[in-house]
């Protein structure tokens, strides 16, 4: 029987959202097919409730690597063991989230198996043994459709690409494997610094409030932070705002920054240069607040307010506060 392997990530005892989205999508599909879902979970400690969560997505098998060596990501340690899992199970597809780990591990494994890899997928169509993957290229100005024919392919999925799925509980077969001993110590992780404020990760956020040159200063970003707090959103920025030193580079959205796909993207004081659109044009709903009616951002906005952000944003924050209080 054909198999699909999903390599999941978790944090604080819960699946990362993108892992859950992949599982939901695959689970929906596998209900009508003969394919088997294998899920690989690794970590120093795997919380009990993760098994339930994964089982609720119809996993047939859960393979764990519960080991101290798998506490922190290190490709030199991960590759031999995960490659072994792939060899033993011969899946057709191996899925990762398009995360820091997925983006790094997936192409290494793809090369190890001399296989194709399809990066940053936002849609999948499946017909029997034919898979068709859609992915943005040229900064979202073009979509590439890749059709594969059942051979081993590695895939990374952009967070928030798939909608909600319905749980489908199965009783998976669960087993743990031991990491392979490694002899290659050429890659050493000597420390991991966590960013001070547990800032919401942009690439996984469902709502993003983004600011540009129109914010005029670093201090004014408080306006967006307040709006973001009310919405449970992450704060992004245009390159001009980053270059001005108002926001850290890690919050830059665009061609040379992060690519995001939230449910809602609110662009404040951002003109909408092509290079910015490259990072956010696949968002589900785009709102633009800009005082220039000619600003190109209005061409991609679903809803645009022509006005002064310093007048609009505080009112928006207040009105939303009222709603979320009820």
């Amino acid at each position: 029987m054909d198999k699909i392997l999903v390599i999941v990530e978790h944090k604080n005892g819960l699946l990362k959202k993108v892992s859950q989205q992949i599982l939901g999508f695959i689970s929906d599909f596998c209900r009508q097919s003969e394919k088997k879902i294998l899920v690989l979970i690794y970590g120093e400690k795997i919380a009990e409730r993760l098994f339930e969560e994964v089982a609720s997505w119809g996993a047939d098998e859960i393979i764990t690597i519960e080991n101290q060596c798998f506490a922190n990501y290190n490709p030199a340690i991960f590759i031999p063991t995960i490659a072994d899992v792939i060899k033993k199970n011969s899946p057709q597809l191996v899925f990762f989230g398009n995360t820091a780990v997925g983006r790094d591990l997936s192409p290494r494994l793809a090369q190890y198996f001399n296989s194709y890899m399809i990066s940053d997928v936002i849609d999948i169509k499946i017909e029997k043994d034919k898979f068709c993957f859609t992915r943005p290229v040229y900064g979202g100005k073009l979509f590439e459709e890749v059709e594969t024919n059942g051979e081993l392919v590695f895939v990374t999925v952009r967070p928030n690409s798939f909608g909600n799925s319905v749980n489908y509980h199965k009783n998976p077969h669960i087993y743990n494997i031991e990491p392979k001993a490694i002899t290659n110590f050429s890659y050493m992780v000597s420390d991991i610094l966590r960013k001070e404020s547990e800032e919401k990760s942009l690439s996984e956020a469902e709502i993003i409030v983004s600011g540009g040159k129109g914010l005029k200063s670093a201090e004014n970003f408080v306006l967006l932070e307040e709006l973001a707090r009310v919405l449970g959103a992450a704060v992004g920025a245009s390159r001009s705002a980053v270059d001005a030193g108002w926001r850290p580079y890690s919050s830059q959205v665009g061609q040379t920054g992060k690519t995001v796909k939230p449910k809602l993207y609110i662009a404040c004081g951002i003109s909408g240069a092509m290079q910015h659109l490259a990072g956010m044009s696949t968002s589900q709903v785009i709102v633009a607040i800009n005082k220039d009616p000619e600003a190109p951002i209005f061409k991609v906005a679903d809803y645009g307010i022509i006005g002064d952000l310093f007048e609009i944003v505080p009112v928006l924050t207040e009105e939303l506060k009222k709603i979320f209080k009820d």
């Binding site: 990501y73 979202g140 809602l264």
Partner: protein, 248 residues
């Protein structure tokens, strides 16, 4: 120290994409640039050379005409360039061609961008490092040297990982690592005389196991534009619409 820098020629970021058919992008009148992430790689290579001495060699796989783009890399200060001419520039082919030629080199570091803005793949650095069997540190925002080790800051999701490797190693860089310089007039003039070796690749057999087609994104229908001169009113319309669209 000998540093190789991988440079990919890409479309200018302002380019409007036009399709000839579902298999082919029209490249008439396209302006080409160095992939922006590779500019950071070149800059970092130059800084390492300034500190430790040595040589910076650009490696590129692409069309014959990309010589013009590579000259811009030489104008920044790289010593020479090698262009492997190939029609096919998918990640698998590029990595293979680079590996075949780079194994003949003695080098300490290979620098590259972590992703190309055209194909959005982020695959070549990982594939090449596997083929050359050297460590790769991916998505790097800082490089330091200590004794015989290279210490990199790698960008994680909300973390910075400090990674140590020994040369020969590969490092794929992320924006934020440096601010690339502009070419000086002197360097532009010198670049004209610098050497670009052409390497003609054996025509790679086409093992097309996958089928790729292109599609332009649907043109979004015009959005609703709200007059913001009365903020309360505008905001209420917006919130109403967002509720209807089920995003709130």
């Amino acid at each position: 120290m000998k540093i190789l820098v991988l440079v990919k020629e890409t479309f200018d970021t302002e380019t409007k994409i036009v399709l000839e058919n579902s298999k082919k992008i029209n490249n008439e009148g396209i302006k080409y640039i160095i992939n922006p992430y590779d500019e950071f790689a070149i800059e970092e290579a130059l800084r390492i050379r300034e500190k430790f001495g040595g040589e910076v060699v650009i490696y590129s796989v692409g069309r014959r005409e990309s010589e013009v783009t590579l000259r811009n890399g030489l104008a920044l200060g790289a010593d020479k360039a090698k262009l492997i001419v190939s029609e096919k520039i998918d990640s698998i082919t590029v990595s293979k061609l680079l590996a075949e030629n780079i194994t003949k080199e003695e080098f300490e570091i290979i620098l590259s961008g972590w992703i190309a803005i055209d194909d959005n793949n982020a695959q070549v650095p990982a594939r090449l490092s596997q083929l050359l069997d050297i460590p790769l540190v991916n998505v790097v925002t800082k490089i330091d040297f200590s004794d015989d080790k290279i210490i990199c800051h790698r960008e994680g999701d909300n973390t910075v990982e400090i990674i140590k490797v020994s040369p020969p190693a590969m490092i794929a860089v992320q924006r934020g690592i440096n601010e690339p310089r502009y070419p000086t007039v002197k360097n532009i003039l010198q670049a004209k005389k610098k050497q670009i070796d052409l390497i003609i690749s054996e025509n790679n057999e086409d093992i097309n196991r996958i089928n790729i087609t292109y599609q332009l994104p649907e043109v979004k229908k015009a959005g609703l534009i709200i007059d913001g001169s009365k903020p309360e009113k505008a905001v209420n319309i917006l919130i109403q619409k967002l509720k209807e669209a089920k995003v709130l």
